[in-house]
Symmetry: C2
Subunit: 162 residues, 2 copies
DNA sequence: CAAATAGTTTAGCCTTGGCTAACAATGATA
DNA sequence: TATCATTGTTAGCCAAGGCTAAACTATTTG
C-alpha cells in the first residue's frame, strides 16, 4: 500500500550537480518535518525565557509591559504566556509583581542566549551585515543543531584568530 | 526537544567581546520578532508547496496520501491544507484527483527549492554531516535573508572551486 | 490621602494546524 | 459487474498564540 517506496529516480535535472536532488526516503523525510514541528513548539517559549533573562540581567527586572513592547505584542498576550511559563515551571510570579526565572528557566535562558550569540557571531564572521545578521539569527537559532553550532563556533574562532 | 544533541558548551563565554550584548533599541527588537512571526505564517505553506513541486517533478504527480506520509501528518490535515492552498491560488485541484501547482505555486516552489538547496549545500560545505545538514536546512531555510543566502552561495562556490 | 495614571489580569473572540471518526469516490480484481 | 481496499473529504474536537475590551491593582502625584 504505502509502499510506493523510494523509486530509484535518477536525478532528472542532473544539471544541479548533487545528491540532494532525489527525494529522501519516506521515513526520514517525515522525521525531518517532525523535528521542525517540534522546534516550533518550543521556539516561542525559548524566546520569552531568553528575553526575560536578558531583561533581568540588563534592567534588573522583567516586567510584562517591557516584554510586550519588546516582543511587539499586546500585554494580554504576554500575560497569558506568563501563565504558561509558570505552568511549565520556567518562571515564578506573584500577581502584579515582576517575574523571576526558576532554576530551569535560567538554564534555558543561558542555553538560548549562548546559541543565539554563536549564530549571530557566525553570521557576522561570514560577512553578513549587522542588521541582517540580527534578524536572521533570531529566526535561525532554534533550528541549528549542536553539531552545526560547534562547527560555527570553530569557524568564528578561526576567523577572529587572524 | 532537540534529539540530535550532544556536545558540551564551553563556548558562550568567549563571545562576550561584543556590542551584541546590550539590548537592542525597543523598536528594532520588536521588528526582529515580528519578522520571525511573519516567517512562521508562510513557512508551512512554503513547505507544502515545495513538497508538492518535488513530488510532481520526481514522481510525475502529487497525491494527498504521499504528502501525508512524507510530512508525517494525517490525510485529513493534508486535505484541509490543500483547500487553503487552493484559496491562496497556489494549487488547483479537483476532488479525488491529483494536484497541480498554479503558475504562482510553481514560482514559490522554485524559490523555496533554490533556497533550501543553497542552505543545504552551504551546511555541507561548512563540514556538517549530511544527515544533520538536512534536518537543519529544513528548519533554517525560511529564516535566511537574501543577503545571507548570497553570501552562502559565494562560500559554496569558493569551497568547491578548490 | 485621594485621584489619576500606569501596569496587570481576565474574559471572550479568532485563526491555524493538528487530530479521529465517519463517510464518499475511485479503481482493481474476483 | 459487484465488491472491497485505497484514497480523499467532511465534521467536529483541541491547543496555541494572537487580539480587544473591561476589570482590577499598584504607584505617582496633586
Amino acid at each position: 500500500m504505502s509502499d510506493h517506496d523510494q523509486s530509484p529516480h535518477l536525478t532528472a535535472s542532473s544539471s544541479n550537480s548533487n545528491s540532494g536532488d532525489a527525494l529522501p526516503p519516506v521515513g526520514e523525510h517525515a522525521r525531518q518535518y517532525e523535528t521542525v514541528r517540534n522546534a516550533h513548539e518550543t521556539e516561542l517559549i525559548e524566546d520569552y525565557v531568553e528575553l526575560i533573562g536578558d531583561l533581568i540581567q540588563h534592567r534588573g527586572e522583567a516586567r510584562a509591559a517591557d516584554i510586550a513592547t519588546r516582543m511587539g505584542v499586546s500585554q494580554a498576550t504576554v500575560s497569558k504566556m506568563i501563565r504558561r511559563l509558570n505552568e511549565l515551571g520556567l518562571v515564578t510570579s506573584k500577581p502584579y509583581r515582576s517575574l523571576f526565572l526558576t532554576e530551569e528557566g535560567q538554564k534555558m535562558a543561558e542555553t538560548s542566549r549562548a546559541r543565539h550569540d554563536i549564530v549571530l557571531h557566525f553570521l557576522r564572521a561570514l560577512g553578513v551585515n549587522d542588521h541582517t545578521a540580527r534578524i536572521d539569527a533570531e529566526g535561525m537559532e532554534h533550528h541549528v543543531s549542536n553539531e552545526t553550532l560547534s562547527i560555527m563556533q570553530r569557524f568564528i574562532d578561526e576567523q577572529t584568530r587572524r
